[in-house]
């Protein structure tokens, strides 16, 4: 921090890539893992390069290595590694500190974690200005406000004095971007910048990054979401198992992918066009469902529930027929999870009623409800949380099979595991030893045990990679076709809901703002909020 950094001029003169690595290898010797196995990548001034891949592909480690943040115990090697026109292989902590923030700003996924909870947003940003000495002290407050305004934060003067927890997720993410760009870096490295955000907020953040790019800042975007990448990037690198399997201009890669993995990734994305076909094996139709007049299994009338003065669910009615899938979409806080819990009889509504098989289901004593519970089962977003940590897979799946002799329970549990595509050998394992996809299969097997008529799925695939998500959605569709189970499918992902649902409810602030056939609602939205939602979804080129 002694001399002003002259990296910027060096780059301008040379007009070479801002950052370039060749044969980047990152390994964690203590864990015996080589996360990145020879990745070459460069970002030119003003360019937007995207790295996409599923979890464990090494995309985040790659991005962090570019800022010298691969973590303690990481061995980073490269045959070439230039940063701001200098060889970064010999960089010490001091050199890296000069690069970070000043030359390259980092935006991470979770702004609540990335911002110091004990400092105001304004202080956080002012610190970047102070450390890199870009703005002298008297002008800093004004500059902070200016920066907050530039990332589209309303009332920047007020917001600068607030703490991260006082801001909404979208505002926090924008504040984080403001601090990343505070020192006016040449390059922004954004690691899953929109993953935790609602779709409309995601659209705002993407627009913000696009604005930055238009202003001449280069962006390196890391994402698992191909559609997010499509809207922003000039070039895409597709990573798998620490290697780049495909690279090229975004349009080309997404519309005519050359590598099989890219093709399977693209095919696995659920959307309106994938309805009725398998996601995990493209162009294979799903089994037909019995159509026609199906009896009503679950009905809710005018449900309302308030927490204090806040109405979590406000006058919601719906019906669900045998073999049907009813999607519930909405952003965080829209009341969709509360609705799911009301349907399950885990909460009782303040007013209104739920009927299961025509009989009153809400507001009855738990003792009366218990014998009927097998008819309606839950599949939740985070299966690991829904498993008793001490139990094995076999025990978890067998638990709801009450009333059967021990041996039959065991046999039935193995049968259920087989049905969801899990090897019987997994029965003796603990869920934490399984992958995310396997865990969700275990949760599905457990839910199928009591032969339910209704499955309430609360964001069942949100935590999964797109290829695993595809397998789980296919599995749900198969089960539905075979058993005629009705699904109440809650999700924030419009693509997923469009793929799997017959009808859909759109929720906002506890109310249903629009409902109907899924194609009608998503193709011809009538309510302005639905229109906003649909418009905010990033699309793959078709």
């Amino acid at each position: 921090m002694t001399e002003p950094v002259s990296v910027r001029t060096a780059v301008r003169v040379a007009s070479e890539p801002l950052v370039a690595v060749e044969e980047l290898r990152v390994s964690f010797p203590s864990a015996g893992v080589e996360a990145v196995r020879g990745v070459s990548l460069s970002v030119a001034p003003g360019e937007c390069v995207a790295v996409v891949g599923e979890s464990g592909s090494g995309k985040s480690v790659t991005a962090r290595s570019l800022l010298g943040l691969a973590g303690p115990g990481a061995a980073v090697r490269a045959s070439r590694f230039t940063m701001a026109g200098r060889d970064a292989r010999g960089f010490g902590p001091r050199d890296w500190r000069r690069i970070r923030g000043r030359f390259a700003g980092l935006v991470l996924q979770d702004a609540l974690v990335s911002l110091d909870p004990l400092r105001t947003v304004g202080d956080e940003i002012a610190e970047v200005l102070a450390v890199h000495d870009v703005v002298p002290r008297p002008g800093r407050t004004a500059r902070v406000v200016e920066l907050l305004a530039s990332v589209g934060i309303p009332d920047p003067e007020i917001r600068a004095g607030q703490y991260p927890h006082e801001l909404s997720g979208g505002l926090r993410q924008r504040a984080l971007i403001a601090s990343a760009v505070a020192a006016d870096p040449e390059l922004i490295i954004a690691d899953e910048p929109t993953t935790a955000l609602d779709v409309t907020v995601q659209a705002q953040v993407l627009r913000l990054l696009a604005d930055r790019r238009a202003a001449g800042t280069a962006v390196l975007l890391i994402s698992h979401d191909l559609a997010v990448v499509a809207s922003l990037a000039d070039r895409v690198l597709v990573m798998k198992d620490g290697l780049v399997v495909e690279e090229g201009p975004t349009e080309r890669v997404l519309s005519s992918p050359g590598h099989e993995y890219t093709r399977s990734l693209l095919a696995a994305v659920p959307s309106a066009s994938s309805r009725g076909t398998r996601l995990s094996a493209p162009a294979v139709p799903l089994p037909e469902r019995a159509a026609g007049h199906a009896p009503e299994v679950l009905a809710a009338t005018d449900l309302s529930l308030s927490y204090g003065s806040r109405r979590a669910v406000d006058g919601v009615s719906f019906t669900l027929h045998r073999g049907e899938t009813l999607g519930v979409v909405g952003e965080s806080g829209s009341g969709k999870t509360t609705l799911a819990r009301l349907a399950l009889g885990l909460l009782d509504p303040g007013s209104g009623e739920v009927r299961l098989h025509g009989q009153l289901w809400s507001g009855v004593r738990e003792r009366r409800r218990r014998p009927r519970r097998p008819a309606i089962q839950l599949i939740s977003q985070n299966p690991l949380e829904s498993f008793d940590p001490r139990h094995t897979v076999g025990r978890l799946v067998a638990e709801p099979l009450r009333g059967l002799p021990r041996r039959e329970r065991r046999a039935r549990a193995l049968e259920l595991l087989e049905r969801v595509g899990l090897a019987p050998g997994l029965a003796a394992r603990h869920p934490r030893e399984l992958s995310g996809g396997q865990r969700q299969r275990v949760a599905i097997a457990r839910a199928l045990g009591p032969r339910p008529d209704v499955l309430v799925c609360d964001e069942p695939v949100s935590a999964l990679d797109v290829s695993i998500q595809a397998q789980v959605l296919d599995l749900l569709a198969e089960i539905q076709a075979e058993d005629g189970t009705a699904l109440l499918f809650v999700s924030h992902d419009l693509g997923v809901v469009h793929h799997i649902s017959d009808r859909v409810l759109v929720m906002k602030d506890g109310r249903v703002v629009e409902e109907g056939d899924v194609d009608d609602v998503f193709f011809l939205p009538r309510h302005p909020y639905t229109r906003d939602l649909v418009a905010a979804v990033p699309h793959l080129p078709t």
Partner: protein, 282 residues
């Protein structure tokens, strides 16, 4: 000890025994032997009085000297371990059992029941442990059984509060909710899912609590509330020795050291367990 603790917390290596923990473990093993079969540790009768050799200093014949009645101090300490430790263990067992049940009841009950129980834990824990134990003795009268009861009651809030807090977390856990949707009866959910998952911190707490129990037991015996003479009990030994402190330091020092070492070793092991299991599901 402190630096070792900090270093261990920071580095988090795979298990490697530390000298302190090993020594503590050895001492406690020896103590366990003394409790189960004191004859293996010393061949001397702790009650054999020999007035001619009263207050003999430590020497080759009596390693730790003799007391005012000429009884071997070492033998009395070895045999006394049974009294002191069994009071500690039984009192801790009582406190853990009652504490877990009450904590669980509070955590699962309706709000006003919970409030009533929680406030009573608070009231109990405002009394110093020993004072509360004395209060119980004042009602029940002295004696080994009553000392166990007194110390046990005094320690209940330590466990009940932790279990209550754990229960609040576990009863809202996804797997409990899942058990409800599976149609499991309340008792089955409590026994199978709630209880086992709230017990995590208990082994650690109980190890440390055991040390406190031993101190309390000795303290009450010192005051003459515990096992009655001529039974060898560390606190009672201290009490008898206090009249001879000037002429025979060994009569008081060695029982005192036995108490101190026991408590220190239990605490070392307890902290060690705590560090190993902190933040992990059992």
């Amino acid at each position: 000890m402190t630096t070792a603790a900090v270093a261990a917390a920071v580095t988090r290596r795979p298990y490697r025994p530390r000298p302190g923990a090993v020594l503590a473990g050895l001492f406690l093993t020896l103590l366990a032997v003394a409790v189960v079969a004191p004859g293996l540790v010393t061949g001397v009768d702790p009650l054999a009085a020999d007035p001619l050799r009263a207050l003999a200093p430590p020497g080759p014949e009596h390693w730790l000297g003799t007391d005012h009645l000429g009884r071997d101090v070492l033998a009395r300490i070895v045999y006394g371990a049974r009294h002191s430790l069994s009071i500690g263990v039984l009192a801790t067992g009582l406190a853990v059992t009652a504490g877990v049940l009450l904590g669980l009841a509070a955590g699962l009950s309706h709000r006003w029941v919970d409030e009533a129980l929680a406030r009573s834990f608070d009231v109990l824990s405002t009394f110093p442990e020993l004072l509360l134990a004395l209060l119980v003795i004042a009602i029940t009268g002295p004696g080994t059984g009553n000392v166990i009861l007194a110390i046990g009651i005094a320690q209940i809030p330590n466990y009940a509060r932790v279990i209550r807090a754990q229960t609040f977390v576990v009863r809202r856990a996804g797997y409990v909710e899942q058990a409800v949707t599976s149609g499991l009866p309340r008792a089955a959910i409590t026994a199978r899912h709630v209880l086992p998952n709230v017990l995590g911190p208990i082994p650690v707490l109980a190890t440390i609590g055991l040390g406190q129990g031993v101190i309390a037991a000795s303290g009450l015996s010192f005051l003459g509330m515990g096992p009655q003479p001529p039974a060898a009990e560390w606190g009672a030994m201290l009490s008898e020795a206090r009249n001879y402190l000037r002429v025979a330091w060994w009569v008081a020092l060695f029982p005192g050291m036995a108490i101190t070492l026991t408590v220190v070793c239990l605490t070392v092991i307890g902290r060690r367990l705590q560090r190993r299991f902190e933040g992990r599901t059992p």
